[in-house]
């Protein structure tokens, strides 16, 4: 038994490898079924993504919000809080960021950016606060409330856009001033010419490392994990469970707002309804695949980012929508393979 636990890491590597192979296999079968050669398709994706600075940049650009949201959700998941409300939280945060950046553009930069980030964070965190407080005070599972809060958020944004903030006959906000835009990486590296990847990518990396440090190297992180593992024990150890749960939920949902940096401030210059395209759900998969380890989340996000952009590159051969299927297959493979591998090692003891 001791041996087994020592080999937890090996088990994880085995199950992740098997599930990726399984995904590759299932994808190949789908491609074969529609009469195409899977190797051709994979060949195109790899050469397009890695063959040019543009391709690589686009993959990094797609990975950025996943790293942010995945790391943020990892905090909640470590506390065993099933926050599936990231979609609503991050949309509200990005929406408010776009408004703040537009309406406060008179502020100097050293004030504007903190204000934009703090407002975005606060709104996203508030959207997480509601299900958190309902869970703590009423004992209602956060699962259903966060789902409902997603819909409320989207309807609310839609309402605010149409009634007040949208540019006429669009579903987007006004474009912010150019000087507020976060520089693209191509401004520093010619290599990424034309790609949308911007400095937010490094912010996302820093965030992932910071979340890693918090979860694995600080007392606070240990408290979060202790509450996630065993609430009763945490209570008797002297941890204020409710405070930890509330904080995890606030930080986790608040941080999702940072995707607004990538899309609003780093790319379009405005908030656009529907920009997230299920990001809040895909991020769950990204975090899950990495066992909620933020360093791992960087890699799984890169994989998903590559798939996302890769789908576009093969669109002429095979509908890019196949990537939705591939991403879902990755999730379901890791879920099932992980369990089977786990059971296998357990039965071997």
């Amino acid at each position: 038994m001791e041996l087994r636990l020592k080999n937890k890491l090996r088990e994880n590597i085995i199950s992740i490898t098997i599930s990726l192979i399984l995904t590759l296999f299932i994808t190949s079968v789908i491609i074969l079924l529609i009469g195409k050669n899977p190797f051709d398709i994979f060949g195109i994706i790899i050469s397009e993504v890695f063959g040019s600075g543009y391709g690589l940049g686009q993959a990094l650009f797609k990975a950025t919000p996943l790293i942010i949201t995945g790391s943020a959700l990892a905090i909640c998941f470590h506390a065993s809080l099933f926050n599936i409300g990231a979609e609503g939280q991050l949309n509200l945060g990005a929406f408010v960021m776009s408004l703040a950046a537009f309406y406060f553009s008179a502020l100097p930069a050293y004030l504007l950016f903190p204000v934009v980030i703090i407002l975005g964070f606060a709104v996203s965190a508030f959207w997480g606060y509601i299900p958190a407080i309902i869970k703590i005070k009423k004992g209602v599972s956060e699962v259903i409330t966060t789902i409902m809060m997603n819909f409320i958020a989207m309807a609310l944004i839609n309402f605010l856009l149409i009634e007040f903030f949208a540019v006429k006959s669009t579903v987007r906000t006004e474009k912010i001033a150019d000087w507020i835009m976060i520089p693209k990486l191509s401004a520093y590296f010619q290599f990424f010419q034309g790609s949308s990847v911007n400095l937010t990518f490094f912010i996302a990396l820093a965030l992932a490392f910071a979340v890693y440090f918090m979860l694995y190297k600080t007392k606070f992180g240990y408290y979060i994990k202790a509450v996630g593992f065993n609430e009763t024990a945490a209570k008797y150890i002297g941890i204020k469970n409710n405070r930890i749960m509330l904080l995890s939920f606030l930080i986790g949902s608040g941080l999702t707002s940072l995707v607004g940096l990538n899309f609003v401030l780093g790319y379009k210059g405005y908030y656009e309804f529907g920009f997230s395209n299920n990001l809040g759900f895909t991020a769950i998969a990204v975090a899950l695949l990495a066992k909620n380890n933020p360093i791992g989340i960087i890699f799984t996000s890169l994989l998903f980012g590559m798939l996302d952009y890769g789908g576009l590159t093969v669109n002429t051969v095979i509908p890019k929508e196949i990537m939705f299927v591939v991403q879902a297959v990755v999730i379901l493979s890791i879920l099932s393979v992980d369990k089977i591998v786990n059971n296998y090692f357990q039965s071997k003891d």
């Binding site: 001791e2 020592k6 190297k217 992180g221 994990k225 202790a226 024990a233 008797y236 150890i237 002297g238």
Partner: protein, 494 residues
Amino acid sequence: MNSVELINISKHFGSLMANDGINLKVRDNSVHCIIGENGAGKSTLMKILFGIYRPDSGEIRVNGIPAHFRSAHDAIKLKIGMLHQHFMLVEDFSVIENVILGNELSKGITLDFDKSRQAITGLIEKYNLSLNPDSKVSDLNVSEKQKTELLKLLYRQSEIIIFDEPTAVLSPVEVGEFFKIITKFRDEGKTIIVITHKLKEVREIADDVTVLRRGKSVYSVNRESLDIDVLAKEIVGELEPATALQKINMGNNDIAVEIENIVLDKGGVRKLDGLNMKLRKGEVYGVCGVEGNGQGEIADLIFGLEKYSSGKFITFSDLISLIPDDRIEKGMIKEFSVGENVILKNKNINIISKNLIAKTTSEIVSKYDIRLSDYNAPLQSLSGGNQQKVIFAREIELDNDILVFAHPTRGVDINASAFIHSVIISERNKGKTVLLISSDLDEIFFLADRIGVLYKGKIVREFSSNELSSKSEEDVDVLLEKIGKLMIGITVEE
């Protein structure tokens, strides 16, 4: 003729031999008590007989025929029934629904509630159970829930019924009623097996008794030749000579915790009802009482986990250690390593590095002789005894002023008990304030300087150290009897 014969049954969990070649013969139409200390292997043996566990080796015979159980379902088919310590009831169902589940009476595909009600009412009247078959189980009290469990067995016409510590949850009056029911079962020709660790109950109801000790069946006797003293010795076995624990009188016995008229409600139930206690430095205060009279709430109150509605609670220090009754489930995060579990409680540490974990682990491991193969291994991979040690070690190393021990030796073997007792005394001798909550009277007598008897959320009588220091054996017996009565709410003439 024997209804049940268990021959040479062995069952191990990890390195622990829970049952080690046990033999048991239960005569037809008798009440057979199985007695032994916690961890003697009683529950494991009964779960084997009921098909929940499969034995490593050995044979089960029911009515003389070898039986092979793959699940409880197979045992049920042979008309064996078991009343578990923890109820197996669907709270949202009515009594009727709970009873018929799995053996429903139907008209076509419709459940025949009328017929079911008739059958169940018949059973209720026959055994005088006084229970409304249409009440929802979540509205019933403990004794009524137990009756519902009984109805499930009766409805299935179980002939061999196993009771796992049936009286633990009952009040004295309810225990009397319950024994009447059991006797009626026996008189009707059923075979009854009762797991217990109470000698008094054995004397009252047993036709035969088997003693289990450390996984072995060590002694069997029938009612005629039953000698309680012999039985008691067999249960405990050869006691290791108790290490003489010297209590040092501290002189300075300042009050450390003052609890005055505390009232505490939980889920609409009054748990503490005007509790008065004063804990002093350098003494062990023992709280004894039947479980569920507010013990858990006292511990939680002192540890700051519960809010009281009225009264006064003053503590001179908030450096408090709590060693909860279920240390495995409440005392540690079993997914964390030894070092991580220790650091978790250290208020001065905020950044946790690998080195720090390694250093903490090696300190505690060498000081307390904890056996583990790998410093990074999660606590759950250690043996049960070592896990417990880690928890005690951590709490002692914290060097807190107030220590609350809840049932510190429950589920612990004799050697570990001795270690824990010596820890408690040595902490007391350091001038710490120790609150000892235990349902084991012997333990409380052995360790406590003062004893408070807890009944229905208040201390009904406190025994000072003077009263406890009279050493003659007769005095102790008188005292024990007095405390025993107080515990079940009988006021004693002083």
